[in-house]
Amino acid sequence: MISALVPTLGGDSRLERNLPSVVRSLARSGERWEMLVIDDGQQLRREPQGVRVLRLAQSRGYGPAVNAGAAAASGDQLLVLNDDVRLEESAVRVLREALPPEGVFAVAPRIVSPLAREGDEGGKSATLRAGLIEIEEAPSSDTHPTFYPVGCCYLCHRQSFLDLGGYDDVYAPFFWEDVDLGYRAWRRGLASLHVPAAVCHHEGSATIGERPMDERMRAWHRNWALFHLRNLQDPRLRAASLGAWAACALFENRRPVLDGLSEALDRYRAAGRRPAGGRSDEEILAGVRRD
């Protein structure tokens, strides 16, 4: 059974626009399904019809909302979606067929989006540049490994999601939690695949885009730094990332960037580094490099 999880922060009109396409695609998947709309902070004005609504008293952001949905879901597979995503009818069926019983954490569709430079934000590769991991689009016409399943749309086994601990709340309310989850899956040898034969359409950061630019810049840099501090195990990569952040602290003049770095250090002090073990950083990065 597939449980579709759609967290929303007062996205009544987005749900009205997009949920019918999700229902149609689920109905065509050949699998039993349910849909949970997670009302993050109880800001929905109208309750969507024919779906379960999980009301969270306090808004804590995308990751915690999906985690709450995963805990409440009945299905053995999770279809994680943003509320501004429209699915093509065959999308869920194609994703389901591409998700093997084991060895793969998640499958992500082609994500047609105005945010995508090359028309598809579903496939991602990672590059080490001047000490830091940078994410790049990796569009393709064939199924291929992707650095992480972009949070706006992917299908995974619920058990894998729970075994990994779901999204890490330390990134809340948004940015980099999906990269972090995909990285932890790769660390355990669980791949993420980009399946361009499945197609969805993303309106593009509809919720995050409503936040002020400074807040987004601060959150992006905070979580970018946190990702490195929490995840990197290779001593040379860690030293390089610290050198890179030192350069940012020395030469950046944008206040949100510097505030983001300070917040990252605060959160890292509380959350700490992940336990060692599993695939090495170099193995993971080599596996998702697209030359």
Partner: protein
């Protein structure tokens, strides 16, 4: 504003990133990232400079056009005043017996000035 640099260096020191082989990685990344950050700062300054230059060109053009319009208006008013002065001299030279004609011409001049002030 809080400076994150001391905390980053403290963390790097505790992690052993400031000694041995790790120090080379630390310094190489510091240099490379510094170049990127400074290049991005230059790019933002160049963008700002380009936008200020465009704004300055726009203002200069508007100023030039306003100045030309002002000169044209001034020339027109000088011509008008000269014309009115000549008319008044001509009216002043009329015989008192032609007061009615003088009055008609004064009213015509008043109408001309009124129209020009609209």
């Amino acid at each position: 504003m809080r400076d994150p640099l001391p905390e980053i260096l403290d963390l790097a020191s505790r992690e052993g990133a400031l000694e041995g082989e790790a120090l080379a990685s630390f310094l190489e990344a510091l240099r490379a990232r510094a170049r990127l950050v400074l290049a991005e700062r230059c790019e933002r300054l160049e963008d700002r400079l380009r936008s200020l230059e465009a704004e300055s060109d726009r203002l200069s053009d508007a100023l030039r056009r306003a100045s030309e319009a002002h000169d044209a208006l001034l020339a027109h008013h000088r011509q008008l005043v000269e014309g009115v002065a000549a008319q008044l001299v001509s009216i002043a030279s009329l015989s008192p017996l032609r007061a009615r004609q003088a009055r008609r011409r004064l009213l015509a001049l008043a109408e001309l000035l009124r129209n020009d002030s609209r």
